[in-house]
Subunit: 201 residues, 2 copies
Amino acid sequence: MSSLPLPRGIDTHRVLELIDPDKDADGLHPTNLGRLVLRIAEPVESSLPCTPKGIIELIERHGVDLAGKHVVVVGRGTTVGRSIGLLLTRKDVNATVTLCHTGTADLASHTRTADVIVAAAGVPGIITGDMVKDGAVLVDVGVSRVTDPETGKSKVAGDIAADAVERSSWYSPNPGGVGPMTRAMLLANVVEACERKAGIR
Amino acid sequence: MSSLPLPRGIDTHRVLELIDPDKDADGLHPTNLGRLVLRIAEPVESSLPCTPKGIIELIERHGVDLAGKHVVVVGRGTTVGRSIGLLLTRKDVNATVTLCHTGTADLASHTRTADVIVAAAGVPGIITGDMVKDGAVLVDVGVSRVTDPETGKSKVAGDIAADAVERSSWYSPNPGGVGPMTRAMLLANVVEACERKAGIR
């Protein structure tokens, strides 16, 4: 079981490729990600990336139907932004997805039209109230270390500002939201891999 | 060298996985597509999917800078829609990408804001003039067989209607546009794979 990010000086790409795709708990082996690219309607019979899988499970379990929704993903990191669109645009989820990033010319023009925003930029409070439409679903996956002005201590901050949360119909904070879902999906991937090996899945 | 679509009754996924990723001229082996998912800024040292690679080369060679542009891709097929966003959102291209498909609630609301539309739906004339902003760049990759009303003969039709073309600043038709680029990229992939094997790339 790998854990990203790996320490500096270690070639992440090389390590990922050394994992047996059949034992890939993270769902980050290139062969497994590529299988996901190629499958639009068919089941993906290998591990899916944990955080994207956890985000979709979290949203759908709370009764938000993603079919036909416009999801704007902010941030093109490996663990969320580069792969969640591949899951969201499969026929079983059927969302329309826009991927924004540091090269996006006018971020607010995209987020303002979004039914759902998945914020994974790692920029504290980058999603502000004026960038969100009323009733939007907000999922914060941004992780930044900031200094708390009251206590002077270091703490984790998300991407979504408080005034954006006020306009949302449903909100998953960070910390306290998606993190445990990632770990739950990691365990689900292990169980599913065992079931496939035992021929009972 | 594979060629998609394969005849009916043949499992495309199984055939693709039997190709040696180092000899994958199409750039459609899952391991190679997955490597592309994982690489945002670093060079991808394996074959890239031919049609997406050809589309980007075609646009950029005609002097259209894609950095900061909003590209709307219509259609989630394996050879274009599922993979072109992975190339367009890499740092070396740096476009913002929306993937629309048959499950998209309001297609026109997305295409109307697009700087560039890549139409790969396979629905003749699905992109009409009222769905396009003035000066948009239009790339037709849709392939449909229709009957010519004048001759009664079968012919290939693209996704982009004539009134949409009138509003565009630049247009690549189909047939007559991307097709030969796909084949050029197929040959480029072969040469690059040979160079990698010989240690000169």
